[in-house]
């Protein structure tokens, strides 16, 4: 047996839980962001903005936890037959997703500070404003926040597409090791 065999064959329960928790939280918070910024000013809009910001801070903390866990627990090896370019693409996508999971909430926090609206986590814990109020910088950071978000959405779609392609076309265990109830596609769920 070669060295990949010594790597775990599946993700830890913690890694799986964090993956899906963050995945759903990101999709929800992204959707909320898309919806709320078009609204005319109303108490509802102020509430949604606060909820979006609270969610962002919470996700940021879970991403720190996830990164720490990831550094301490090697993920399972990729299928041996996977071409080198696919390995590289998978590796790059994962690294970029981690970078964006930090950069997206961070850009939102900075944007809020520059726009003069402090982030107060759950209405209780005020986060320090790293930038002082500056309308132009606030508008610029809004663009940055948006671009980072759409980049992340694109990468998430690529990530999702790749996972489905591995499951349906390649029939390997890439998806099932993150969704253990699927079973191994090669062996079939009926067995």
């Amino acid at each position: 047996m070669n060295s990949p065999a010594r790597l775990p064959s599946t993700y830890t329960h913690t890694a799986i839980a964090l993956h899906w928790l963050i995945a759903f939280a990101l999709v929800g918070t992204f959707g909320l962001g898309l919806y709320m910024h078009e609204l005319p000013l109303s108490p509802q809009k102020l509430k949604l903005y606060s909820w979006h910001k609270w969610a962002g801070v919470t996700i940021f903390l879970f991403v720190i936890l996830r990164l720490v866990w990831r550094l301490g627990h090697r993920p399972p090896a990729l299928p041996v037959l996977m071409p080198a370019w696919q390995r590289l693409a998978a590796e790059a996508t994962h690294v970029l997703l981690y970078v964006l999971m930090f950069a997206v909430p961070l850009s939102g926090w900075l944007m809020s500070s520059a726009k003069g609206f402090q982030t107060v986590w759950f209405g209780v814990l005020p986060l320090p404003d790293l930038l002082s109020k500056d309308t132009e910088l606030g508008d610029l950071l809004q663009q940055v926040h948006m671009i980072l978000n759409f980049s992340m959405a694109g990468l998430v779609l690529a990530h999702l597409g790749a996972a489905l392609k591995h499951h349906v076309l390649d029939r390997d265990d890439i998806l099932s090791r993150m969704l253990p109830f699927l079973g191994k596609p090669g062996t079939g769920a009926s067995k």
């Binding site: 000013l41 109303s42 108490p43 102020l46 509430k47 903005y49 606060s50 726009k115 003069g116 609206f117 402090q118 982030t119 107060v120 209405g123 209780v124 005020p126 109020k133």
Partner: protein, 188 residues
Amino acid sequence: MNTRQTTLALATLLFLAPPAQAIEFNQFQPAKSSLSFVSKQMNVPVDGRFRSFRSKLAFDPAKPAAAKAELEIDLASIDAGSKEANDEVAGKPWFNTREFPVAKFVSTTVKPLGSNRYELAGKMSIKGKTLDLVAPLTVTQEGNSASFDGALVFKRADYGIGDGVWADFGTVANEVQIKFRIVATAAK
């Protein structure tokens, strides 16, 4: 006492003693004055201010009880934190600036509280409603100029500022922290 000594004594009286003619601060200095506030939205403090306001005042430190002050605020000059907010608060549920463009304060009494502190009381009119308003006042004199600083908690609902959907204090708090600094010089 010879003539020379008399002259010297007179000169001392004239130039070193406090002037018998009291100084009165009555020339409002808009560029040095400010009127700012902090509102709370979802418990987030948001800084705001009014850009345009005028004051007529007369304050003689020797006769503070006789002091008088008037303040007129152009409500449309508000900066409530963002352009979106400025447009919103000009509207009917808030200040309704089309019908009530100016808020006006007229003092009734100024009570000395010791050293340079005073209690300023008067009538505040906003949106067609006039209510009593009391604010602490600290007067700092610097040569020909005096600064009148104060802070108070203002309750927006008292004047019906933020009606209808905005009446819920859970989103925008009722209490608004107001800070003012009025600077006036003495007329020469």
